[in-house]
Amino acid sequence: MSDFIAIAFSAFILQNIILTQFLGICPFIGVSTKRSSALGMGFAVIFVMLISSSVTWLLYHHVLVRFEITYLRTIVFILVIAALVQMVETFLKKVSPSLYKALGIYLPLITTNCAILGVAVLNISNEYNFGQMLVYTTFIGLGFLFVIYIFSMMREKLDRAPVPKAFKGAPIALIVAAILAIIFTRFGGLIEWIS
């Protein structure tokens, strides 16, 4: 159990997918201008991440490893992710039009989201078992949502602040992200101090 807690905490804060591991930066900068879109993107990412990580983990350990074709990992993973996103989009459209309206537009963007493929690969390289993989993926997704939401709140304020012209848009967003990154990584020191 403490193993799971350690993984969860690490995934959420210490190894935060955006601020520490640099995955998912494109939607982070691109979609975080409004709170509602950040929320939508965050949930869509969690959803797709969980499904794709589970499927790719199973495929890797039960097919690729067994037939000794692990070098096909990248190609299989990205195709699975692309196919899953397509299926989820179609499924949502039919089953829940309201949900589709809320999340649907973000789905195509997610295919090339490095966070999705990145987490799938990380689950393998960290050598997690199925349970650890689920915990890790969930909290990575929650960490993504958390950061992108906080960031969107800041950006809404930034839009109305007197920012020098050259810094408007991406540059000031990145600098604010830097401050967030410092806060997140220093949490590690807090944990060390406590334990």
Partner: protein, 225 residues
């Protein structure tokens, strides 16, 4: 568009990182040292040039193009993923320390928007030779961009510039001269964000000044007419 223009646009006017803001994930992660940035550049050149070439070949054939068009995104993905896996294996075998440094970002070249973007925007509709030049220009442009960021970060963070393996340039004397020490933060995540943010701001400022100048000149021409 001449061949030269085709090549240079990837470096200046349409620089994938500085202008189109694509490929930010690897730009933040691999710019901790010039060596890593150069290594990533080599991998991206390999993948982008070959993927543009192959996809252009496929789409140049009339019949094949018609068949591929409905499934063209999966086709692009398969081609790019294959090339990336080849690069991964070659790096693991012949450049193992670079492989370990770049880590997860080698397979992530697959989802680097630059490569899929050029395939869809250029290679699919242009001739193979032009596509190669476009790919080369874009990849070199990306490389120039991440090397600039990495020079910034590595110099400010450690005072050294690691070009390749043991080939290092020690610029610590500059710090000694100014009586300060390197700021370690620049090699960490926060420093990555700040570096890229400042560099993008500088570029935006330069571009704005240039536009101001052009507008002023245009006004003067109008006034004189």
């Amino acid at each position: 568009m001449t061949k030269k223009e085709n090549f240079l646009k990837g470096i200046f006017k349409e620089n994938p990182l500085f202008v189109a803001l694509l490929g930010m994930c690897p730009s933040l992660a691999v710019t901790t040292s010039v060596e890593n940035a150069l290594g990533m550049t080599i991998a991206v050149i390999f993948v982008l040039v070959l993927s543009n070439f192959i996809i252009s070949l496929i789409m140049s054939n009339e019949k094949l193009a018609k068949l591929v068009r409905p499934v063209r995104i999966p086709v692009y993905i398969v081609v790019i993923a294959t090339l990336v896996t080849v690069v991964e294996m070659l790096m693991h075998a012949y450049l193992i320390s670079l492989y370990k440094s770049l880590g997860i970002f080698i397979p992530l070249i697959v989802v680097n928007c630059i490569i899929l973007g050029r395939a869809e925007a250029f290679a699919a509709d242009n001739k193979p030779v032009d596509s190669i030049i476009d790919g080369l220009g874009m990849a070199v442009g990306f490389g120039v961009a991440i090397v600039i960021v990495s020079v910034f970060r590595e110099f400010l963070g450690t005072g050294l510039l690691t070009i390749w393996g043991d080939l290092q340039i020690n610029l610590n004397f500059i710090f000694d001269f100014l009586r300060i020490s390197p700021v370690g933060m620049f090699t960490q995540p926060a420093g990555a964000f700040i570096s890229l943010g400042f560099i993008l701001a500088i570029i935006a400022a330069v571009a704005a000044k240039r536009q101001e100048k052009q507008e002023k000149q245009a006004k003067e021409v109008k006034a004189n007419v």
